[in-house]
Point group: C2
Chain length 229, copies 2
DNA sequence: GGATATTTCTGCACCGGGTGTAGTTTTATA
DNA sequence: TATAAAACTACACCCGGTGCAGAAATATCC
């Protein structure tokens, strides 16, 4: 009768999205309350009023219940490098992007201290299986970035992989460091200046190389190199 | 009576070592024959004539049945950096160490084509859970190296972690690349020259920085920079 | 509007990795 | 030789994840 065929996703699709959200929400609520390791998927399914089998139809693993939101970030740096304006170096493009994200307190930089974000970050970092899955994302980001470098700068394969891994690693460590500091109680706004300085330092180091890492070994003050970070 | 109390380990300890070896051997044999994912720990325990519970008393996880041999490598680079002669830079120390290992065809460089090594490498790389556990080793190596840098060069915390991660990553990618090539049929001796060249290139890149990564984006040949790797 | 085909959901049994426990065998000690 | 300590075993169990067969819900066609 009066059913209108507008372009919007039909009842089936809408229901699926609602179910998906319900499962994910129930999961995160329970995980935050009792800890990732102490809640079974069966309990999550129960809370979401769905069978265990259905839960696994929506999320392939328990970890995905938490991390599915972060999946897009896997290709983020690759996209940034691809989208940089002609003539710009990939390293500078990534640096600028990271600085911009810091400015917006994007949770991915670790510089967001909204309580829920904070608790989620802690949970991920504290759970071995979640942390390990994050490492997987990192590896994926390296692959994607390597390909982007290979295609948009004409760097050979090995160089692309090396550069990609190093760039992703820098972003990763910076985010990790910020997250740890906020988890230890620092406020995001108070940390901001330091985070920016660290990011700039890190990208400078990566740009200039580890060439002049202090070779000093024996006790006694180092000869030169005043600036330290 | 005639029991002599020399310093050697005593019956109990000796038996434990034999059992441990028996379990590990049975595991690797079965895994190589049928694949890591297709053999259950119960089957391994069976083959080693040991109960499943005992198996897990010796090896905390299934993956450890394969990877326990590689655990020492986690601190290898850290030891190298600590043991470098005074006045030498950490980067050079690691580079020299890697080159030395390539010369000896140390399996850890990926440049060993003994059939059993080859098959084991393939198995590890092809099994997600083993590969992921390897990533864990990599992370451990980064932590250990960072600490060594912090203590023997007077680099600050963040810098140490960045440098450590980059150094470990280089070694990792080089090894991975060699392993892949040998797995694809290349002979170790034939690959050796290329492996050395790649290692030197990688450490040079790391020393000099990603500063001058070609910024070219638009199609059309790149303006300068002839040397490519 | 109803019949039918398709998709989704469900319960259930099962697998494999891993652990707790209680009791038995083996090695060490005296 | 008795006894204490350590190692091993069987068994039951938890949890994440999958295969399967049938029930329920949605879409489609007349």
């Amino acid at each position: 009768m009066w059913t209108v065929d507008d372009g919007r996703p039909g009842l089936r699709e809408r229901k699926k999205q609602r179910t998906r959200a319900a499962i994910s929400d129930a999961a995160i609520t329970l995980f935050l309350e009792h800890g990732f390791g102490k809640v079974s998927v069966a309990q999550v399914a129960d809370a979401a009023e769905v069978s265990k089998r259905t839960l696994f139809a929506y999320f392939p693993t328990k970890e995905d219940l938490v991390l599915h939101r972060l999946a897009d970030h896997e290709t983020e740096l690759a996209r940034v490098v691809r989208a940089r304006e002609p003539g710009a170096g990939p390293l500078a493009a990534v640096r600028d992007h990271v600085l911009a994200r810091l400015r917006e307190r994007d949770p991915i930089t670790g510089l967001n201290d909204r309580p829920d974000v904070l608790r989620l970050t802690r949970m991920i970092l504290d759970s071995p299986s979640l942390a390990s899955r994050m490492q997987g994302f990192k590896a994926g980001a390296e692959r994607a970035l390597a390909q982007a470098l290979r295609e948009t700068a004409d760097t050979p394969d090995l160089t692309s992989r090396l550069a990609a891994a190093q760039i992703v690693t820098v972003q990763w460590i910076l985010a990790h460091d910020n997250a740890r500091r906020l988890a230890d109680g620092e406020a995001a706004d108070a940390r901001y200046a330091g985070a920016v300085a660290d990011a700039e330092h890190a990208f400078t180091l990566l740009g200039n190389g580890l060439r002049d890492l202090t070779p000093k070994r024996t006790p006694g003050r180092s000869p030169k190199r005043s600036q330290k970070r």
